[in-house]
Amino acid sequence: MTVDRIHGSFRDPSGGVYSVNGRILRTVTETYAHQFHFVHRTGLLDRLRARGWLLPYEFVDDEISSLFPGQGIEHLLEVPRLLFVSHPYEWPFSALKSAALLHLDVQVSALEAGVTLSDASAYNVQFQGPIPVFIDHLSFRRYEPGEIWTAHRQFCEQFLLPLLLRALFGISHNAWYRGNLEGIPLEDFRRLLKWQHCLDSNLLKHVVLHAWLHQNSKGLEGEFSAVRNVSSALPVAAFRRLLIGLRAWIQKLTPADSAMSTWQDYARTNSYRTDEVHIKRRFVHEFVETERPKHLWDLGCNAGDYAKVALEAGASHVIGFDSDQGALEACFVRAVDERLAIQPVFLDIANPSPNQGWQESERPGLRGRGHADAVLALALIHHLVIAKNIPLDQVLDWLISLAPLGILEFIPKADPMVQRLLSLREDIFSSYSLETCLAHLETKARIVKTCHLSSQGRTLVWYERRNQ
């Protein structure tokens, strides 16, 4: 039996998260146990679980002696394995916003039970479809009346400022956040603001004044720890007001660049005829119905049209990847409105999330987070080959390595969409053809079925990876 610690959990002194033969177990150390007992007795965790805000868990204490002997473990919790762990720098704006609102809701509910959260890490929120869920059962501890919100700065840097970057300036948070895993530093963000921003009381309070006080409190540290005399620094009513005020502000935030993006409007502006769309939908439906994949990755999901078809055909969960923020927003909103198990994730396929953080393993890259049962790569390959200059054989090898099954849609040079890509550049893609594509595919996979979609030669290919 192998017990592997999940790397992202190493910072927490309260316990760790382990993968044991496919199961996910969370330890509660003896030093944190009194806090956990207190929180558990309040009934808060059960209430949060009942609302769907907290990942369910059950005690499996009888396995402590065999799995963690002599390690000072008081409790062992088993939690469901998430289908796909995503990072905040992969979330679209609306996903980060819903995660921020969930965090505040959990904190407000906790406060009512005399409990608080010890941190405000965005990594403590994960998604099931488009629905956020809090996953860290050990973040809760007893609230001491009048204590300050220790995680205020962390909340600002990991949730609020990345949202404001898009809401105020129309800049997506993903690249900056990926470069700085703890979010956007308060002092850096303040430098982006103009004096007019000080007219907004929320910005003035949570960003301008907050950052100014950080920068101008040097030399005062001595006075902070002079005497241990407990009083009321932040009365509970003021703490609650702070949380409710933040929630109301974040609820109203929208992207400054909310005009229609290229791909958000793709369903209306693409070059498909209605009958071709029907054929494509039928093909995807038949593929999923026949192969019965549970967990699909839709690469270049746009607004989730074909992810929805896959779900209707029997798939249980789809991760929809795209690099276009407008398309991801449309997909997210649709998934929420229609209650679809689609999780939209930001991904530049030519530059996917790498392994990073402590020892380059704290936040695993795309490949380190499991594989799909099947992939959909509809009208995707030409973007990688022609717009990004990635050789066709490399694109196909990568695609085949992701899942044992898949559908790819080949778009030939004659197609108007490819012509548009080639209109301002030299055609250096002499080997880009359906024949070359199929020939290379057949070296690694069996072609189950093909379907010609258009007179220009758009072709759907259903393939099955060969066992190497």
Binding site: R11, D12, P13, S14, T31, Y32, Q35, S118, D119, A120, R141, R142, E144, G146, E147, I148, W149, T150, A151, H152, R153, Q154, L186, K205, L209, H210, A211, W212, L213, H214, Q215, N216, S217, L220, E221, E223, F224, S225, A226, V227, R228, N229, V230, S231, S232, A233, L234, P235, A238, R241, L242
Partner: protein, 75 residues
């Protein structure tokens, strides 16, 4: 009379300030592995009410006075 009043205000501010500011370093520290940062503590003191604003003003009083003095001295 004025001296007595100043002395009382000073004592009140110091006691209040120290007691407010030391709260975050209580027993919960063992599990508060996030560094709140001094700026957050000061901001929340201010958000906590009028007394907290007074405490923060008191902490910065020396700097404010020095700043005003520098400006007046220059002019």
């Amino acid at each position: 009379m004025r001296e007595k009043r100043d002395c009382l205000v000073k004592r009140f501010s110091v006691v209040l300030g120290i007691s407010f500011l030391t709260l975050p370093f209580g027993p919960q520290d063992a599990f508060a592995y996030v560094d709140p940062g001094s700026g957050s503590i000061l901001l929340q003191l201010m958000l906590g009410g009028v007394a907290g604003i007074g405490v923060v003003a008191k902490l910065y009083w020396q700097r404010i006075r020095d700043g005003v003095f520098r400006i007046l001295h220059k002019s």
